[in-house]
Symmetry: D3
Amino acid sequence: MRAYHRGFDQLRPVTLTRDYLKHPDGSVLIEAGETKIICTAMIEDKVPPFLKGTGKGWITSEYGMLPGSTQARKIRESTRGHIEGRTQEIQRIIGRTLRSVVDISALGERTIWIDCDVIQADGGTRTASITGSFVALAIAINKLFEKKKIERFPISNLVAAVSVGIVDGQIMLDLCYDEDARAQVDMNIAMTDDGRFVEVQGTGEAAPFSRRQMDELINLADKGIQELMALQIDCLGEIADKIGGRK
Amino acid sequence: MRAYHRGFDQLRPVTLTRDYLKHPDGSVLIEAGETKIICTAMIEDKVPPFLKGTGKGWITSEYGMLPGSTQARKIRESTRGHIEGRTQEIQRIIGRTLRSVVDISALGERTIWIDCDVIQADGGTRTASITGSFVALAIAINKLFEKKKIERFPISNLVAAVSVGIVDGQIMLDLCYDEDARAQVDMNIAMTDDGRFVEVQGTGEAAPFSRRQMDELINLADKGIQELMALQIDCLGEIADKIGGRK
Amino acid sequence: MRAYHRGFDQLRPVTLTRDYLKHPDGSVLIEAGETKIICTAMIEDKVPPFLKGTGKGWITSEYGMLPGSTQARKIRESTRGHIEGRTQEIQRIIGRTLRSVVDISALGERTIWIDCDVIQADGGTRTASITGSFVALAIAINKLFEKKKIERFPISNLVAAVSVGIVDGQIMLDLCYDEDARAQVDMNIAMTDDGRFVEVQGTGEAAPFSRRQMDELINLADKGIQELMALQIDCLGEIADKIGGRK
Amino acid sequence: MRAYHRGFDQLRPVTLTRDYLKHPDGSVLIEAGETKIICTAMIEDKVPPFLKGTGKGWITSEYGMLPGSTQARKIRESTRGHIEGRTQEIQRIIGRTLRSVVDISALGERTIWIDCDVIQADGGTRTASITGSFVALAIAINKLFEKKKIERFPISNLVAAVSVGIVDGQIMLDLCYDEDARAQVDMNIAMTDDGRFVEVQGTGEAAPFSRRQMDELINLADKGIQELMALQIDCLGEIADKIGGRK
Amino acid sequence: MRAYHRGFDQLRPVTLTRDYLKHPDGSVLIEAGETKIICTAMIEDKVPPFLKGTGKGWITSEYGMLPGSTQARKIRESTRGHIEGRTQEIQRIIGRTLRSVVDISALGERTIWIDCDVIQADGGTRTASITGSFVALAIAINKLFEKKKIERFPISNLVAAVSVGIVDGQIMLDLCYDEDARAQVDMNIAMTDDGRFVEVQGTGEAAPFSRRQMDELINLADKGIQELMALQIDCLGEIADKIGGRK
Amino acid sequence: MRAYHRGFDQLRPVTLTRDYLKHPDGSVLIEAGETKIICTAMIEDKVPPFLKGTGKGWITSEYGMLPGSTQARKIRESTRGHIEGRTQEIQRIIGRTLRSVVDISALGERTIWIDCDVIQADGGTRTASITGSFVALAIAINKLFEKKKIERFPISNLVAAVSVGIVDGQIMLDLCYDEDARAQVDMNIAMTDDGRFVEVQGTGEAAPFSRRQMDELINLADKGIQELMALQIDCLGEIADKIGGRK
């Protein structure tokens, strides 16, 4: 039996706490079972060099884990002196996913910094970071829109993400740390609210997987993502109505 | 008038939430007004090279601020590529302060890692880190003691810290960020429960201060620290009784 | 019309030159159109700390691009002072893919270092690195086997990789740089010779993609990978016969 | 008996050698017993970004120890790859102390770089650095003043610093290395010539200290600092007369 | 007997392959026996800060070794985190040597980046890098000249380099790795086509050398360099005719 | 006319001050005109990994410049974050030169650290570092010998170094900074007391030089080095008699 008495096709209990911090333009605490992540969005009035003078904006993301977030103390990357490959991979995927549903040409020359800081880790931190930071981003963008700093609401779709995998031969939704550690196949999927894929990343290091298995994994992820989007809509309230195709 | 309708000699509302995270051996969320810090203590069964073979333990501390904890986004030290002088100064003072009340020769060859991560900053983060991490440390040490891994309870005194300063010519207790930013004199004081000083750090960069002013600042700090220790005792419950001279 | 007069479902001309360098245990020059990569495998008689004493071996990979390999000079990562996220991502995927078809418990406590150095880049460097370095790896492992340093031939399957994508609305196999730069969807797929997936990484930053599009992309990758494996078998000669399920 | 036949309330012999180097705008060799430090002040015609366009100047400080300055060879921080916390702490305190007696708004947009390089270390390097670099700074500022690059002489007070401590239960002035290494309490104090405090940094890691002990330590420091200022005045000659409140 | 049946005064077989890569402005593969180096020249339309506004150009060089180029795998400098002293020395000597025969005031404000990447190492990589990169540089400069971006052909002389040494008491030309590793004296010499010296670097760490030995070493180097220049002229074709004093 | 009323073939006034610092095993202040360098030798009872278990010792060197040693403030390499190529080159040449006259197999498993720190720079710092650090090294080795920690005195020859160059067409000995900055040819030569060469490094970046010019430069260096060795012998006193071939 899985923790929280859940079946193989069920998510852990998920909550989204809006406006968790006072300084950022948008902030959310996402809790998925024991996994807890602070997601923030902060707007800066300048863009990276490659966008200067284009009138376009940018969305970029950083990810970190507190030393006390893991079973064995996580050494700070500042102490270690370099940013790990895993961290970089996660940062890049969060940034790409969020940019896929925002028209950055409507942001003006602004950068929106997304920070996902894991307070407590129990598997699924990269997908929960995406699901939570989308909400923080929408709140921050809405402030720009309400203050009339941008002319139109530039988010076309909701986006959320979930992990799926094969553990002891069993296909499962939303793996916690113990399940993830012994998974043969591990897949992270990000989708929009019209059922299209933004990111599909599957790896079968411990055991390559068949076409049929991949299809089942994707079906399960699709189900989970729809449930997460219901929570995002709930949390965003009327902001959700402004997202393209929803009003 | 100061925020929270407080007088010049009053602390902000302070709360200590015990066992805030599940993985560390001890953890506390300290909130002092809008300042919020996660303090954790994690035990590792080895010591730094200079203590190997001595039978003694060690207590060391690291400090960090989340990017979203400040008004303008705080750049990660891992991205910046080096640890700032301010961070190093704070880390060293936390470590020294905690070691001053623990008999490290009774810890065995263990390192206790103290991590103070600022979730939200509004002044006084270094002193709140000391006050909070003392509690996390006592909880962790108590676990060693309860599991009979150490023979005696090695903490001799409570220790807590507070800031005082001179703002617009007025002596004040527990400065919030706005007060701190325009202070002429800034002093951080850590004391034990028998009224002795562990750290006294005062700086009058904007205006040197007189002996009489220093005396008043210290009196005010003493008052504030006594109040903080009442909260520490409350939070620690029966663990507090094991601390030297208290049972 | 695509370069080399090829159709949307055709690979660029690919050649594999075996034993390209004299020092490594295995080496291959892979050329896919204008993309040229030196892949080497070098055996070291020790393993990373987490495997010490387990009797198991390890396979790890590093990737680099020569400054002259790209249109605009590529700044050296040693000069830049850190390894880029993209490089780390590629290194990790090459390592995972190769390990998925090797029984590392049969290697003894040895590390096989895979290095993929791009001499000239024209798209598809990460997938060509996988295809080429599998051959270099098999040659190096065969040397261990021929010298009777390992008891059985530990490779279970061929593995190769290819890119597919959607460019101007058209699904295409094996994108060159110009196609990749304007692709809406970019997918890299690694498969074994029995048609199972080791890595599936698809991203639709510029335009999310539908389930039907994903299915077509995967079909096309499957076709391309089968052709690449014919070349691998050719290049490996009798070594190919020792790979699990092939003799 | 202490070295140099001195009593507990006596300084070591101190000498200040003016214009020790030819390139800097101001330079002093300070010798306090066996401790020898080269202090230099160099003027640069630009300011850090946060002061650009304000018309204000800046004073900043760096500190280093030669490899041969200590009993066991001191590893270079350039080789070590990072600047130690202790170094950063010292650099920050020197800069703050000097700025406290200079009206930086009268400097124009110039940075004065203070460098304190320890040639030989025998305790008290941070306080000797302050005492010596104040003199180097005054010489450099006087050059600006003599060349009429600044309109008024912007130094309001002399500033000097000394260490005090409790060693084997005895309160002592100006600790040498052997005394410092076994001190229970260690305090560094910087004062102006009108008896006000600029920095008070006391730490009782080995044994917290009482209010009465702190008072005695401060009295002793006050006495030592007055003696050091007599030497500063001697060394500065007529420049000393230009310092605020002295002419 | 030396490899390739050569006498003590003979070069290894040397080949220069022009236009080895498609992206750089000039590129050459130089092979000297088993030593193989890709030399490229890439033009950038800006100069380092110290030349801005002077109208002058710059030539700078970087050098690297592939991990698979050496017997024991060469750790990447990007992984190691710093650039080795040996690498820096070689980079500086290549840059100085090439600049000695080019009138940089005729280049306009352009930087020519020279990259020498060792594909396979068997001794003499620094001198082969000079000989090969001169050809790559001349090709790149000729492109500027043919496109009329510069008014006159700014190369005054051919330059090439070779190693000489004393091995087991015997003076030898063009040392391969095994010879170099047991040499008592090691000398690298770069000369122009009119017999003048650009660089002379001799070291007798294992055994200081006499004036007479130095004279013999230089005579031998002179002979070798003349042969290398014949190959450079051959490879450059009509570009060689444009080099000062040759048309 | 050159400074110090010297002719083209004359050294600047040179002094060697023995035992300049108290902590190192050997120390010398060398002054050559305005150039002043502290050279120290410190013995450590271990060797680098490549010598462990061989019974041999090692001599290694580091070089640095104080920020106040140069006209424009020299940025610390610890602040800059990396060690410059020039510094590495100098460190390597000092180490090689000293090792060439010491039988490291007679040192036991010890490392002698040579540190050359430039207090004031006016040209010729690398050659003065060699001349001065040889003396510091001999003093340190003599201590080992006097304490009977090594069986025989392992230094075979004196070694010293000087710069020569061509400035405005004139061949000159011992260039000061102003001469060096406008030199066409710059050559640094280290020789033993029996007239053999340890290092010859000549560069004609600004103008290649002829064979005849090189001969004259070497003659001049030889003359200067003999004068420097007389000073070394004077400074070393009876230690000089123990150096091979001198007693």
